[in-house]
Symmetry: C2
Subunit: 424 residues, 2 copies
Amino acid sequence: MSSFLQVTDLQDVYGRIGEFGAVSTERLPIESCLGRITAEAVVSPEDLPPFSRATMDGFAVRAMSTFGASEANPAYLTVVGDVAMGETAPMQVGPGQAVRIATGGMIPEGADSVVMVEHTETVDNTMVEVFSSVAPGQNVIEKGEDVAKSGLFLPPGKRLRPQELGILAALGQRKVTVYRRPVVAVISTGDEIVPIETKPATGQIRDVNTYTLCGLIRNLGAEPLPLGIVGDEPRALRERLLEGLRQSDTVMISGGSSVGTRDYTVQVLSDLPDSAILVQGISIRPGKPTILARCGTKAVWGLPGQVTSAMVVFDRVIAPFVEALAGMRHGTGAVLKIPARLTRNVPSAQGRIDYVRVRLRMEEGELTAEPVLGKSGLLRTMIIADGLVEIGVNDEGLDENSSVLVIPLTWPIRPETGWSGDMP
Amino acid sequence: MSSFLQVTDLQDVYGRIGEFGAVSTERLPIESCLGRITAEAVVSPEDLPPFSRATMDGFAVRAMSTFGASEANPAYLTVVGDVAMGETAPMQVGPGQAVRIATGGMIPEGADSVVMVEHTETVDNTMVEVFSSVAPGQNVIEKGEDVAKSGLFLPPGKRLRPQELGILAALGQRKVTVYRRPVVAVISTGDEIVPIETKPATGQIRDVNTYTLCGLIRNLGAEPLPLGIVGDEPRALRERLLEGLRQSDTVMISGGSSVGTRDYTVQVLSDLPDSAILVQGISIRPGKPTILARCGTKAVWGLPGQVTSAMVVFDRVIAPFVEALAGMRHGTGAVLKIPARLTRNVPSAQGRIDYVRVRLRMEEGELTAEPVLGKSGLLRTMIIADGLVEIGVNDEGLDENSSVLVIPLTWPIRPETGWSGDMP
């Protein structure tokens, strides 16, 4: 039996990821762009808001007209008009004057602030009592205060969330140039793997990885292309791989990294036109037998056949790659980690990064990370786990009650997330 | 000008949400179920794994054959065969015997554990040296250890992630009964609102809420149905509302909660057939002018027209409602909050819950929550913010350096998430 000659450190694998480019771009209506990645900087063609607006219901005034006003000593202002929504405010507001205005209404010329209606009392049609002073600019959003004309408001490489779509809408950007969704082909390999509709004979198991990997790929906003199961047969794998390379932006092979099949997977990858093996094993656990090859300009990944290992590798290695392929620009794998207290000792071996599955719990305002019990190959450990704790290359383990940083695996994390077996 | 007579506490609003039922169900292939909510408990028809499997490459043995083995004092075992992947293991493993096996291979009868290949040295075809002892069960997943036959493995009301799809695949469940995706109609109201392709005249603004709300709805796995803009005209609003109620499971009206329009929105809702106003104002900020009405069995929401207020209300009130409508069963709005240290004083008023936008930062292993500067109506505050800090009804504010719990608004949180204006 052979094993890997030389495993690669995770940081070096991240470096190799950077050698692959992003997919091509397209111009789409913004309503089709949720979750897409911007492919260009977007500069504002106008001021947002286009005019100074009230942020409260009340009266537009000159702030100085209210200085010193209080319950005991109200200011009396002359109401010189109403601002109708959606219309210009033609009137002028002078000292001692006020204009009735609703949230969103245009601030009339001469006014610089809005007194909240709660701080006023209408005396009659032309007079209002003001019980509180306002500062200039109070309860007003100034013209251009959100985005100034000609300002860069969206950098390239940013994922569009509802709030970014909102800014694009506010600025009248009907369309935006984004990267297209990468297509990721998934091949499941192994003589023991059968389709899920099949009753496995003894020794066989159903194809789990196609379903978990396609789900993980879709969760990243990419398009999975499942290419089915290939037995441990080099020629069949080569043909399926070539099909995947034709139809997709990158190919993931799950399985084929176990002893015996690993060697021929590497051989099949090496024999592809214009190919190179970049990584044969990563110094992480789980996930050591991960392979990265380049075929032409495309990456091909060999993932562990063990589903939980494949899922951890996906989170730590494949997801940053797919995001880079999708056009995101950020430190690879950069995500906020959550500080928590570890509830028990976790041993580890030096010379590799260990990823320990943990469950997060809030206990009296303190967040604890409880290592998930059970063998690492059990799929239900991935259902229970909220996140991963990384044990560094040079650490022999982590002590109970030590402070750790948890990489979230799932979102949102809910108090009762978990395995039904835990429930009463 | 009128104001709300009686605002409702947030917990009471959550109670009203519970009065509405979930949408109907459908039976779908699991590959179409990512993000869907289970509508039934799923019981395992068989053991998972269906046979005891190796979790490491190595040799299947009786653990007792290795007891006492070490580098200095190896055990010598007779290799009596290989287990081919995907096939049964016909041989028996007796004391002093070993069978070559790969990860995922079926443990032959008589063996109870696997010695990792790294702890062995092959002497010749029939003999292997073992340098380390194993315990019974080590490097083996027992038959039924992941899911036992007849065990409940998926409760109803649970969102299906890639790992749940994996368990369903492993157990040969081709289809699963899930709730359908709720359809949520969105109506934007206000005489000042114009379509985004229009150049607004002075006093007008483009329709931002349709885009942000539809994005937020889609992010929850529901189906937005944008119904366009209605001016401040009761009859037109009534017609659009009836259209929305016919075509969707719930309707959201944005705008129409500002003074003046609010009253006729409430009137239009009251005048609908079989309707009742359940909530007219919530004691939260932002979001006070939120309306909840029932029309027949369906909920109609009135949201603030101010986009940032609408987004915060959506996160705290509407999202739990839509999730319940989608079939999720959990404490309303229950989500893990992240402990952090507040970087500055935040004032608040008693008598309402305040939601303060914050930015999370990791500083020397400590997580800090920095209140986002800028007027709350600025859309870019929602682009900068990573989460919300809740200031309770009875609190007058929060002190600098106090410990707070942050409700994440966005995920993943990336170190460089933020507003381009912050960038050099």
